[in-house]
Subunit: 204 residues, 2 copies
DNA sequence: AGCTGTGAATGACTTCACAGCA
DNA sequence: TGCTGTGAAGTCATTCACAGCT
């Protein structure tokens, strides 16, 4: 379920705000979904709501953390130290939520040795060693589309089993490897699609 | 449909490769979906496939462009010139696909006047003027979560009707405003969720 | 009384499978 | 023969609505 992380985020906020229980309705409101959906989602992994009261925030957070595999941090390797890669390497949002980018690589030898935040860029060829050394399961691809498949192959060969792909290409990987695509331009195109139905024409 | 932009991308590649016709099966393969789905999607906006042959690439591209509202470029305003904002401002992928970031703003006055690629950062307060001057319909939010709702309000007040939100918050906006959320940490959490079911435990 | 947990109803999307045209 | 277009079947997700606990 792609909604669990959102509940998790909302609950962290509630916890920080000192709230100790939450109703499915409030949680739904904050997560931008339907209350019945929240209850069904939570019941799918054995929920502990109290009828008449709601869910205990701490308990629910612990359950979600376990369910989401967030009981420990995840080490990630970032491939591509260009514009986007650099931003991702420095992005605070990852570490705050339990994901540590522990290695950055690039094909461009002129970038090797440069620093991105606390990290030093290594060369592409070191992927295998880095993945093994740091026990990395998650790779992040932030390279141009033409290079993405090769990078994916290399990550998979190194033992990575989950890939977050920012390159606008469909990656061909073994079934057991999970890929999530984030194509920023596609997101804008979806918005433009809706804009298009609003006004037949609009000059930009 | 969130798949149309992907077809569009694939067709651009095919066109660049000099291919003049494409079968639903090939298109499906390249887009990573089922062939029947492709045909159904395309038939939804009056498709022009030839039985026994396939679709004409040029024709199909033109139809998709029209359907997606990509017959002209879209001007966008970017709010937030931090790590992520800077990367987005310089990101080539947007302009290549018909989206022009024509304005960047930030609340931090020390950033105002600095350059991001060809753009100069303006102050937050200028959102209204910039949106009006450039005929902007799409706003991109790349600010910390605590500031996101206020930015959204300001964008909406300025006349923006589509928002791409990178802040990990559910935005409250009028019904007629479309929001798409991209929470990078959520994407990783979804991957971690699947990792978690693979091996009960893995130290990071 | 309030709110969860869940069967049942609905709806949306996907896939199948094949008729029909080039 | 090859491939599209599409009714029909199947699958999955969402929503409703209410019984049942506290």
């Amino acid at each position: 379920m792609a909604r669990l992380p959102v509940y998790h985020r909302v609950l962290l906020d509630l916890q920080a705000g000192g709230q100790s229980t939450v109703s499915s309705e409030q949680l739904a409101e904050l997560a931008g979904v339907n209350a019945a959906k929240v209850r069904k989602d939570l019941s799918h992994f054995g929920s502990y709501g109290t009828r008449g009261v709601g869910y205990e925030v701490d308990q629910l957070l612990a359950d979600l953390r376990r369910e989401l595999g967030l009981t420990h941090d995840w080490n990630c390797i970032l491939v591509g130290a260009g514009n986007l890669g650099s931003a991702l390497a420095k992005f605070a949002g990852f570490s705050e939520r339990g994901f540590a980018v522990v290695a950055v690589v690039d094909v461009d030898r002129s970038k090797v040795g440069t620093h991105l935040g606390a990290l030093t860029v290594s060369h592409d060829e070191e992927i295998g060693r880095l993945v093994a050394d740091h026990g990395i399961a998650i790779g992040i691809i932030a390279v141009p589309p033409a290079a993405a498949q090769e990078v994916a192959d290399r990550l998979v060969a190194a033992g990575v089993t989950s890939i977050l792909n920012f390159a606008p290409t469909v990656l061909d990987v073994p079934d057991e490897v999970k890929v999530r695509d984030v194509d920023l331009a596609v997101e804008l195109q979806i918005l433009a699609f809706h804009e298009g139905r609003r006004e037949p024409r609009r000059t930009g």
